[in-house]
Amino acid sequence: MSAKAIDIIKREGRRPSESFQREKLHASIRAACLSVRSPEGVADTTATNVCNAVIIWLETKPEVTSADLRRKATETLESFHPEAAYLYKHHRLVI
């Protein structure tokens, strides 16, 4: 499942916008899952499911903020892997 062209506004417009990249989202979710010691296969499957859900959500939105993307991805990830979702949500605060 791939998304149509969607602009992601970063840091409330303080950084240049960029196009939505499924691979980037997939990699970040996968990394969060691996960080909480998920097996690689599970991490991949979880990341794929989360990406699919996020892309469906993005269907009616040509432009969203990076915070929106993170929030939606976290919300979806919570149902698959709550620990990874916590890490994904708070990774900036986690040393």
């Binding site: 602009d7 409330e12 417009g13 009616t60 939105k61 040509p62 903020t65 915070a67 929106d68 929030r71």
Partner: protein
């Protein structure tokens, strides 16, 4: 000196339904620079997809039904029939004539900028609509609500109808399973049953119309069963829906027994959820899936953002949304003399035949609040009009406190939606049953039932 921030607009209204349109118009007439954003059809749900088209079809259906049963008055109606495509044309004409449906030009004439697309907050003062960034000093969120399907096994894989999509059907289905026996479910049940559809009306509650008084649900269940052949499945949980040939097979559980029924179509009318997916977090607006939280002045947690209508999640009436829209506009235009909406006398209507209308507190509300009340019911069959119209199914019910002040009322009668306004006035201005009873009520009007019910409460 600090640089003054400039915005594109004074007010951006998100949603052009009843909750948004009045505010946009009032603000524009007050000289404010206003924009309105609509994601679907201009005018919103009520004139395009719900109230107006449903009531237009119900009017035609009730006329047809009454004429069909006219033999008792000496009318010959054996050759009476209907043409469903023509009924749809009538419905579309009614929508067009309201002037509210698809009324983009109206806003432009009022000097309001219009934008079509999904609005999404980027920052507290900026939204994006089709990649176009619009900023405003104030916003009004009036995005309304949408139908949601319950979590029923198989429902994702089987196409189903909603109260919006059934109005676009080319012909009435032969059989219909309605999940949700609230106001809309009951209206559609009666509409389709009149046109010959076998209707199954299912609800998890112990009666149909669970938000109305018990007598209403009991009476309407009997009327629908005896006169229209509707099967009411109360206290029933729908378990699964699967495709079965060209129809659908619905399995439900009632009284611990599982049964199944094959129907042409399934209609979901279980409820609406506020449309809150518009990046409200980016604007620091507090909300839950049940709606946006507002204070008494309809301001959200971000003070420059107002919210009105179904998106608040407490009420789904167009007239309530309109009231809130007017109040939000007032509070935006006159921030030093803010108003609060008064919901005490908001009528609730169901456009069936007989019609159902209620106002103020229901008996259940009074019990929940532990209020000491008196109540009186006047059945329609004691009113002279029931004789001349040969119609007896209905009643007027009035609830007062111990001092006789009217707290609430329910009318089940033809033209109930008109009769209720007398009692709306009584509830709003704290009139007593004695005052209502001593007011002349015209002989041979249905309103005589109100006088009789009020008289019963006078000591």
């Amino acid at each position: 000196m600090a640089k003054k921030v400039t915005f594109d607009y004074d007010l951006i209204v998100i949603g052009s339904g009843a909750g948004g349109s009045a505010a946009a118009t009032l603000a524009a007439r007050a000289g404010k620079k206003v924009a309105i954003v609509e994601a679907d059809t201009f005018g919103g749900d009520s004139p395009n997809w719900s109230d107006v088209p449903t009531k237009a079809l119900l009017h035609a259906a009730q006329l047809y039904d009454e004429a069909r049963h006219g033999a008792r008055f000496g009318l010959r109606s054996s050759t009476l029939g209907y043409n469903y495509p023509s009924l749809r044309t009538w419905k579309e004409l009614a929508v067009q004539r309201t002037g509210a449906g698809g009324n983009k030009n109206y806003y432009e004439k009022e000097g309001i900028a219009t934008f079509t697309g999904v609005a999404h907050f980027l920052t507290p003062h900026e939204i994006s609509v089709n990649r176009r960034h619009l900023s405003a000093s104030h916003f009004l969120v009036a995005t309304g609500s949408h139908w949601v399907a319950p979590n029923i096994q198989g429902l994702d894989d089987v196409p189903y109808l909603t109260p919006r999509t059934i109005l676009e059907a080319m012909r009435p289905p032969k059989s219909l399973y309605i999940i949700g026996a609230g106001t809309v479910g009951v209206e559609i049940a009666q509409l389709m049953a009149i046109f010959g559809t076998k209707v199954y009306l299912c609800d998890i509650a112990s009666r149909i119309l669970p938000s109305e008084d018990e007598e209403v649900g009991t009476l309407m269940e009997r009327v629908l069963r005896e006169q229209k052949g509707v099967t009411s499945l109360t206290q029933t949980r729908t378990l699964s829906v699967i495709k079965d040939g060209i129809g659908k097979r619905v399995t439900y559980s009632r009284g611990g027994v599982e049964k199944s029924v094959k129907v042409d179509e399934v209609l979901i009318a279980t409820g609406r959820m506020p449309s809150v997916d518009l990046g409200l977090e980016n604007a620091s607006v507090s909300y839950t899936p049940k709606g946006i939280s507002v204070d008494a002045y309809l301001q959200t947690s971000a003070r420059h953002i107002f919210a009105a209508g179904d998106v608040l999640g407490h009420n789904n009436h167009t007239h309530t949304a309109l009231l809130e829209s007017q109040i939000a506009a007032h509070n935006f235009i006159h921030p030093k003399s803010k108003l609060s909406p008064d919901y005490t006398a908001t009528p609730r209507l169901t456009f069936t035949h007989p019609g159902i209308a209620s106002v103020g507190l229901s008996e259940d509300d009074c019990i929940k609040r532990d209020l000491a009340i008196n109540k009186a019911i006047a059945p329609l069959n004691i009113i002279a009009r029931s004789n001349t119209s040969d119609f007896r199914d209905g009643f007027a019910k009035i609830i007062t406190d111990k001092r006789g002040v009217i707290l609430g009322a329910t009318i089940v009668a033809p033209h109930a939606s008109e009769i209720i306004h007398e009692l709306t006035l009584a509830v709003k201005y704290g009139l007593t049953a004695s005052e209502v009873a001593s007011t002349p009520h015209a002989f041979l009007s249905w309103s005589e039932a109100v006088r009789v019910a009020a008289s019963k409460l006078v000591r």
